[in-house]
Amino acid sequence: MTAKAAPAAAPGSVSDPGAGPRRGWPPALHRARVLAGVVPFFLYILLFLGIPAAAIAYGAFQDPDTGQFTLSNIQTATHGIYLHGFLITAELSVITAVVPGILGLFIGYAIYTARRGALLRRIAITASGVFANFGGVPLAFLFIATLGTTGIATRWLTAIGFNPYENGFNLYDLGGVALVYLYFQIPLMVLIILPAFEGLRPAWREAAQNMGAGTWQYWRRIGGPVLMPSFLGCLLLLFGSAFSAYATAEALTSGTIPLTAIQIGSFLNGNVLAGQQNVGKALGLGMVLIIAVLMVFYAMLQRRAARWLQ
């Protein structure tokens, strides 16, 4: 009962301890007082996310030698190998958003429907938390030991007459990197899609069944449409996560696949032509802009999702 009553309580209702609305405070001032509580958080975000992003945008238009305004960094960053890098990164990110997105959806649902409190569920969710943060050289190594030319799985498959390397597979090309990315993308998908499953009320399913709907009809007419905005939102996040991954691809391919993140890293490591020191920042600005567009869509999808969930 109280569960239903709680969200109905208005923000800043009188029962708040300490800082309830005082008689005589003008509404605007009261609003400012209420908002004061989140100032530290937004200040921190501004300091360590906003200002660095602004610094990159500023540097992208700056001549490294004279400090003058210039468009040459942007010119360089949007042509030749760098444009190619953006395209390859986008291709890899689309693959590693859609495939783990769909797989993660089914895995997430299988976990969600497991008996509440079951060990299986706990193991799966905690493992997702750990694996979603796993990456870099250790992850690359796991797959070299498994599917490298002399890896365990490669030898098993060869023993049953299917040598993956003679059938077009290569761990060190784009497809191989995508396969490795699944190792942290699937757990990430499971983590971010689970809360959306929570929003599917059992009552809806029962109502559908009472009206004679089968499983397919339920998902086609009710479950699917309700989940769709959350699912698309999760795909965008997966795209962003793959887009920003650096260490894993770098370790696996040592730079043979020209990904934008790796190109930026090489600028930081000092492998730069004279006069091009700020091209890295222009590349960074490009990535931030793409992410910004992504987040606008994400926010729109979140708003749609909120209509049904909670």
Binding site: A6, P11, P40, S244, I264
Partner: protein, 281 residues
Amino acid sequence: MAAVIGDELAGEAVPPRPHRKRRSYPVWRWIILVLTAVYFLIPLYAALRFAGIASFGQVVHQTGFSDALILSLKLAVITTVLTMALMVPTTIYVHLRLPGLRRLLESITILPIVIPPVVLIVGVLQVAPGYLKSTPYLLGLVYVILAMPFAYRSLDAGLRALELRTLVDAASSLGAGWLSTLWRVILPNLRTALLSATVLTVALVLGEFTMASLDLYQTFPVWIVAFDQTSGPVSTAASLLALFVTWLFLLLIVTVGSRRARRTGGAQVDLISVTRRDTVR
């Protein structure tokens, strides 16, 4: 009369329930889970075989291991303390007084997942003052940002599982002030969420490679990569060890937390998802 009919209806509605409860777990779900397990376990097995059991004992004695681990642990402490000091009050405050901001906060705290760490560290190194750049602790300050997605989500899940408004109202009607409500009522109820957020933050710091290596400090993951040149098996053993230890800690926390939830009848929190008693059969 109405009551009798109601009872009859209820009586009819009840019998199918136990059936449905024991509904067999469909085959396709088992197939999915088994395939997933295969994909995730075979690489671990391959790495374990490569490392060999003996390497696990040798990890601790390698040159640079303790320095790197100590640096990473210091960073983990700084990051966790700052993250909690920032996120716990903010999340509780938003839940209580600005629920309209929850969606905005969710969108902001998801940003670090999509913003490339490579880009972020370029920006940070450009604007950070010299005295910060010359210490490794600058990394800790930036890691707070990276830790937000998971820290916020587990705290948010923890708060959703509580009757927060009821708790706060009860505490204030008993005369408790803000601090004492926070310290003696909310935080004890959030214990599982706090622990999960802590472990996820520590896991992040112990595994973050990109920023640390570009900032040129030898944290634990950077050491693992550097040491790979000296001895592959030992380096692999070190990374597997870190993975297993973190995972076991998380599993332990969630298990203890769900025991407690079962005993007290509260909603169950699994890291980032909440299962309420009343919504699940």
